[in-house]
């Protein structure tokens, strides 16, 4: 008993809160579904929420912790959705198993995640050479290339031609409990990414974010950790894509355009950079609001949804970042208010942690490129000359 108590004390509740909260919510919802207390439309909302949480948490690894701006997260999702969907279709048409079962989902997920991981590796390579805005546009370009290719390529599956602009028709997983699988995957995603971050490897990743030059001089293998960050992030985006293909019977590439990437980025940023719990909360909240507003505001009013969204976004960012509002912000911030009610948000040491601080987390977007009217010809000054031949 004593031992149990000490074990209980040892758990860092600040980090465990994610698992406990999500596990509890999933259990309650499962119970409700069994008793028939949840409508079909709400189940759809739940599926969407779990997907978006996985996307936001995985992007948070790259943007918040690795400090690289990525605008192509939907591209990885697209790869996952297509490869996962095609795998399940192949499984069904070849008669190995039903395409909409759990086993088929698992196999498709492995395939989708693996291919997305390979794409993450490919996108990680330019990240070694490029930084900030330049990397942002390369990731954006990657997403658009993936989308364009899938929009035009057609496949032959089971004698039928699929793909192209109309997309693919995947076997929809139309059991009620798909969202439970979603919650399990959310827990796995959070566990993997949070464990990675809270380890020596996570420390190396944040060190690269804070000061790449110093990290190199301290012996951190920047290549390895940048690639690692991109691959892990892409794998989970791929998993979210596979979930998408199983939650919807139709997958079209045009869904995964850069607006989708930006939507995910907004979730990460509003949740507080480098804050996993924040990303989860904001992904849940934004998805909920989005779906609800869509059902409330119909017809001509539908566009108000976008407008409210845009206004809230602008106001929240300005409130959180404007230098002029700093004193106000320090007085009323969510962390402080929450800590008044929940002990585990309180910081025992009284020190400022690096989580959730917008202005503390630099994305390397602020390079000192200049406005120039002259063509730069001589670049050799910045680069050491080639080694002289003996």
């Amino acid at each position: 008993m004593e031992k149990l108590k000490s074990l209980f004390k040892k758990i860092k509740w600040k980090y465990a809160v994610n698992y406990v909260a999500i596990g509890a919510i999933a259990l309650v919802l499962t119970a409700l579904t069994m008793s028939g207390g949840i409508k079909q439309s709400d189940l759809f909302l739940l599926e969407k929420i779990t997907m978006n949480i996985i996307l936001a948490v995985s992007l948070s690894l790259v943007v918040g912790f690795l400090g690289e701006l990525s605008l192509g997260h939907a591209g990885f999702m697209c790869v996952g959705a297509y490869f996962g969907g095609i795998t399940s279709m192949l499984l069904e048409s070849s008669g190995i198993m039903a395409g909409d079962g759990v086993l088929s989902f698992v196999i498709s997920m492995v395939v989708g995640a693996a291919v997305a991981g390979v794409c993450g590796f490919i996108i990680g390579l330019p990240a070694l050479r490029l930084r900030g805005d330049y990397l942002a546009i390369v990731t954006l370009a990657f997403g658009e290339i993936v989308k364009t290719i899938f929009q035009n390529v057609t496949f032959e599956i089971g004698g039928k031609t699929v793909g192209g602009p109309i997309g693919i028709r995947t076997p929809r997983f139309d059991k009620q409990y798909f969202f439970i699988i979603g919650f399990v995957l959310v827990l796995i995603a959070i566990a993997v990414i949070q464990n990675l971050i809270r380890s020596k490897h996570g420390r190396a990743i944040t060190a690269i974010r804070d000061n790449e030059i110093a990290a190199k001089a301290t012996g951190i293998n920047v290549t390895k950790y940048k690639l690692c960050g991109f691959i892990v992030s892409a794998v989970f985006a791929g998993i979210a894509g596979v979930m998408y293909s199983f939650a919807n019977s139709n997958v079209t590439a045009s869904v995964f355009d850069y607006n989708k990437s930006i939507e995910i980025l907004v979730m990460v940023v509003l949740g507080g950079m480098g804050n996993i719990s924040g990303a989860i909360i904001s992904a849940t909240f934004i998805t909920f609001l989005d779906v609800r507003l869509q059902s409330v505001l119909t017809g001509d009013l539908a566009v108000l949804n976008d407008m409210i969204y845009a206004l809230v976004l602008i106001l929240v960012v300005i409130y959180n970042n404007a230098p002029a509002l700093r004193p106000f912000r320090e007085k009323y911030n969510a962390r402080k208010l929450l800590s008044r009610f929940f002990g585990f948000f309180r910081n025992k040491h009284g020190y400022a942690d690096d989580e959730g601080k917008w202005d503390r987390v630099p994305t390397k977007i602020d390079m000192d490129e200049l406005l120039s009217v002259d063509v730069i010809v001589n670049e050799s000054v910045q680069k050491p000359d080639k080694e002289e031949k003996k």
């Binding site: 020596k200 490897h201 000061n211 301290t218 020190y351 601080k357 987390v361 050491p384």
Partner: protein, 258 residues
Amino acid sequence: MSEYVLETKNLGISFGGIKAAQDVNLKIKKNEIYGLIGPNGAGKTTVFNMLTGVYKPTTGSFYLNGEELKGLSQEKINGKGIARTFQNIRLFNNMTVIRNVMVGLHNLPEFKCGIIPTIFRFPRQFRTERQMVARAEELLKIFGLYEYKNQLACNLPYGKQRKLEIARALATNPKLLLLDEPAAGMNPQETAELMDTIRFVRDNFDMTILLIEHDMNLVTGICDRVTVLNFGTALTEGKTAEALSDPEVIRAYLGDDN
């Protein structure tokens, strides 16, 4: 095994044909505190950048305990045993003091723990983490930073930031420590404290130290030998007092006095 910890042979680099450093020959013995001095723009930091792999030398090469390190990447050179600090302090500003030091411990063989064991939280992960914290705290205590261990690095006072940078460099367990202007921006009292720290590091960590410095009190106070650079070439080298009284050196610093 070479008798020198660091030996450079005709080390030189040029940018677009302009020679930033040329024929630099350093021979640093074990447990020596060696000064690299010279007027601004003499190429001192460039030499450091070559020694740590930021730049690849155009000519010549350098050896650590007889092993040629030229052409290796920065992290490999660090792994071989050269650690450095920076002229303009480069800490991991958004990380706490103790985590800064723990990043330095990252590559030590005793704290080896792959990505898979950390993700699945093998017992090894907890054990290495505990050991790393203990080692980092030890280092912080030595440098008098223990009480600040949970503060963000950017919130430390300037002198403490310099110390933290040295602590982080030492955490990588180097054989040679390069200090780039460690006393820049310090008042005389802080400088005196820094001199004690540097001597302490040499004696207790069995360290060889190469430092760049403009503060002549510090140079004459702790450096055993110095090399004076001017326009990328070595003017003179030798025992600190002798080298500094060389008329060539005085001319380089104060200009021609005709």
